[in-house]
């Protein structure tokens, strides 16, 4: 059976706690295995589903096709935010130019009417794209707790490089259940198994 490596970093340094002790400390005990290939990862996720193991999360260095339906994730609603921000940008751009060129500071360019709709369209388009893009990035950062100043929470550095990770929350599990997970990791061709305390 694969040995479990205890991982610690900065804030989480200290002995591995289990059960009530960890919960009392406001921490979760995460058992995770690293795979070196996304095909192995997909097979492992399928095996976990077949064994009714409750996967906490899966971390990959890049988007893996077909993973979302296996994990039962809903389609992202981020594009709804994109549409709303785009609409706001569209109306803002068009409305602002309309106000400027008909009310605030009318100027005739090349003999065109003040309210020159065709000339407004490229700028309206650009502002739609800008609002939509910036708005979506902002929403994405807020929803996922990312962005400037945010402390990156990662289980293992190589998940951002070349390793694929399946994580289980073992805070409330007893020894027999943890052994079952270790057995599962062995069966599915895991490379290394780690354990780490993380903030809840």
């Amino acid at each position: 059976m694969a040995t479990i490596r205890i991982e610690r970093d900065g804030a989480d340094a200290g002995a591995v706690a289990t059960g009530q002790e960890a919960v009392a400390a406001g921490q979760r005990n995460i058992l995770f295995g690293l795979y070196d290939d996304e095909v192995k990862l997909l097979d492992a996720v399928k095996a976990a589903n077949a064994d009714h193991l409750d996967i906490d999360d899966v971390y990959t260095p890049f988007p893996v096709h077909g993973l979302d339906p296996l994990l039962g994730l809903e389609e992202s609603r981020l594009h709804v935010a994109g549409f709303i921000f785009g609409t706001i940008g569209c109306l803002f751009g068009f409305g602002f130019m309309t106000w400027v060129f008909t009310r605030d500071w009318p100027i005739i360019f090349g003999g065109k009417p003040y309210w020159s709709v065709p000339a407004f369209i490229p700028i309206t388009f650009e502002l739609t794209v800008l609002f939509s893009a910036v708005g979506m990035v902002t929403v994405f950062y807020i929803v996922n707790g990312l962005g400037p100043g945010a402390e990156p929470r990662r289980l293992h550095d190589r998940i951002t490089d070349d390793k694929f990770c399946i994580a289980f929350d073992v805070t409330d599990l007893d020894g027999a259940e943890v052994d079952r997970l270790r057995d599962y990791f062995d069966r599915t061709g895991v490379e290394t198994v780690h354990q780490k305390m993380v903030a809840a």
Partner: protein, 545 residues
């Protein structure tokens, strides 16, 4: 099922459509009473020939472009596009009819084919090295023939690949790729030249550098829409079981994306012309916005607004119902787009021919007749009314009967607007071009609205395209320059088959559609539906967006 069986029911349906189309074509030949060398018949014929020939060519383009880009997702249904592209041969015959008509002068689709008119017309004379029947004949036969040859080669290689027992022999695929790569640049340049000849030269004075792109985008959308509809039909008949929602999703993305691209080109063409405000160019849009507003705006609504909102969501591209609905609308919409490119220009040629014939019946007049007003002149905007009123003054006693339903047609030689008439006709832009203020005086014949127009504060905001200002001596030359049709000063009433498609046009469209599908389906039934030895077949089967 490996092979498509062209059922007798499908055959009957397509043949019935072709019958309807043929009857409509025959009726439209006789119903117009020979007006303008049967202009309605010939425009319908050209419109549908170019449209379906273009769809065939763009299907070949999609095959070649995707193959060159190492794409694999489409390989399962590439036989459909190969079958589309074989329609280039019947398309060439259809264009052959136009060519024969060109030589025998049995139609007057192209004003540049009128030798007498070209001699008197500096712009057409200037263009005559490209716009002539020799170029038209050579280009159509040589270029369409070349496309057919290259795409036919590709299809033959693909079919030979299927017959080879060795399924790891990739030499077929490599040769297929070479022909695809040869086809692309050739098609890129020659298709632009041909769409200029076939469609753009109907408005023979007008030109737009965006036109070839615009027409190609239109045809690409139509081709994608037809592919989606045909695939949904074939799936419902039990074929293409491995073509899944993933493939339709990607086809739907193409439908969506190229619709937006088409809109981008539509707008770019419009805005460049609107901004430059050169009379020779704005005339194309002015004509369509003023006399064909329903057609002009419906084109944009069906081909942009509808696919934009319907296909924006993910799941509408994965549901056969909504996808079929959007495809059907957009397919018809781009047929309407070609209608919009062809019919208004042809109608101007028609009017001009009538005026020309009348002119010769009377005195020896120039080529360019200026349309006067019709009886509904007072319903139109003030600037037109003013211009027409001014025209009426100088046209006294020299009105020509216009058989196209307008009482007055002015002879070009008699156009001498006085200063007041000019200014009635010219919007405020003139002030900022530094026109001499004394010529902006108010003449005796102007209407109140015309006077208002010289005040920038009451400038009509929605008048995007303004009329050109012509000096006295420039007037005639500019009118000739503005299309040889003298579009500047007329308003046309409703005319079925030109303003909007009539039943005959719809029938002809269905007939050509039936013919196209009959040909494509009979080609589909001659080979396996799925190219079993294509190296990308596996990728296509497991395609996942």
């Amino acid at each position: 099922m490996e092979n498509f069986v062209f059922s007798s029911r499908a055959k009957t349906t397509n043949l019935a459509l072709m019958g309807v189309g043929l009857i409509c074509l025959i009726i439209s030949y006789f119903v117009d009473g020979g007006e303008g060398h049967h202009m309605r018949f010939w425009t319908n014929f050209l419109h549908n020939s170019v449209f379906f020939l273009g769809i065939a060519a763009l299907a070949g383009f999609a095959l070649a472009a995707f193959t060159t880009a190492y794409a694999g997702w489409f390989v399962q249904f590439k036989r459909v596009w190969e079958s589309f592209s074989t329609f280039l041969l019947p398309g060439l015959f259809l264009m052959g009819v136009i060519i024969v008509g060109l030589w025998l002068h049995s139609h007057h689709l192209y004003h540049w084919n009128d030798d007498a008119a070209v001699l008197e017309d500096p712009i057409l004379s200037h263009k005559s090295s490209f716009l002539n029947k020799y170029w038209f004949t050579f280009g159509t036969i040589a270029f369409v023939g070349l496309w057919y040859f290259l795409l036919g080669k590709m299809r033959n290689i693909s079919l030979a690949e299927d017959r080879d027992d060795n399924d790891t022999n990739f030499s077929y695929y490599r040769r297929y790729k070479v022909y695809a790569a040869i086809f692309l640049p050739i098609f890129g340049f020659t298709s632009a030249a041909m769409i200029w000849q076939w469609v753009m030269s109907i408005d023979s004075h007008w030109y737009s550098t965006m036109f070839a792109w615009y027409a190609s985008a239109s045809l690409f959308v139509a081709m994608t829409a037809l592919t989606i509809m045909l695939l949904i039909y074939l799936k419902s008949r039990g074929y293409f079981t491995m073509v899944t929602a993933e493939h339709f999703h990607d086809l739907g993305k193409y439908l969506f994306a190229i619709s937006i691209f088409w809109t981008y080109l539509w707008f770019s063409q419009f805005m460049l012309i609107w901004y430059a405000n050169v009379g020779e160019e704005t005339i194309y849009f002015r004509e369509r916005m003023q006399n064909y507003p329903v057609l002009f705006w419906a084109n944009l609504a069906i081909n942009f607004v509808l696919p934009f909102f319907v296909l924006m969501r993910n799941d509408t591209k994965r549901k056969m119902g909504t996808l079929f609905f959007a495809s059907a609308f957009v397919f018809f919409g781009h047929w309407l787009d070609f209608f919009n490119m062809i019919k208004p220009g042809a109608r101007l040629t028609l009017i001009e021919m009538a005026a020309h014939e009348e002119g010769h019946a009377g005195a020896d007049h120039g080529d360019t007749a200026v349309m006067g007003h019709d009886e509904h002149a007072d319903e139109h905007e003030g600037d037109e009314t003013a211009a027409l009123a001014a025209g009426e003054v100088v046209s006294e006693g020299d009105n020509l009967q216009d058989p196209a339903g307008h009482d007055d047609a002015l002879d070009n030689d008699n156009i001498h607007f006085d200063a007041s008439a000019q200014d009635d006709n010219v919007p405020v832009a003139n002030e900022f071009r530094g026109g001499p203020p004394e010529t902006r005086g108010v003449g005796p014949n102007e209407l109140a609205t015309a006077t208002d127009r010289t005040d920038p504060d009451v400038f009509e905001p929605n008048q995007f395209i303004q009329e050109e200002h012509f000096g006295d001596n420039e007037m005639i030359g500019h009118l000739e320059a503005a299309g040889g049709h003298s579009e500047a000063l007329h308003t046309l009433g409703f005319k079925s088959g030109y303003t909007l498609p009539g039943l005959l046009e719809i029938g002809t469209f269905l007939g050509f559609l039936g013919g196209f599908l009959f040909f494509v389906m009979s080609k589909l039934s001659t080979a396996r539906l799925e190219p079993k030895n294509d190296p990308y077949l596996e990728e296509s089967i497991h395609h996942h967006t």
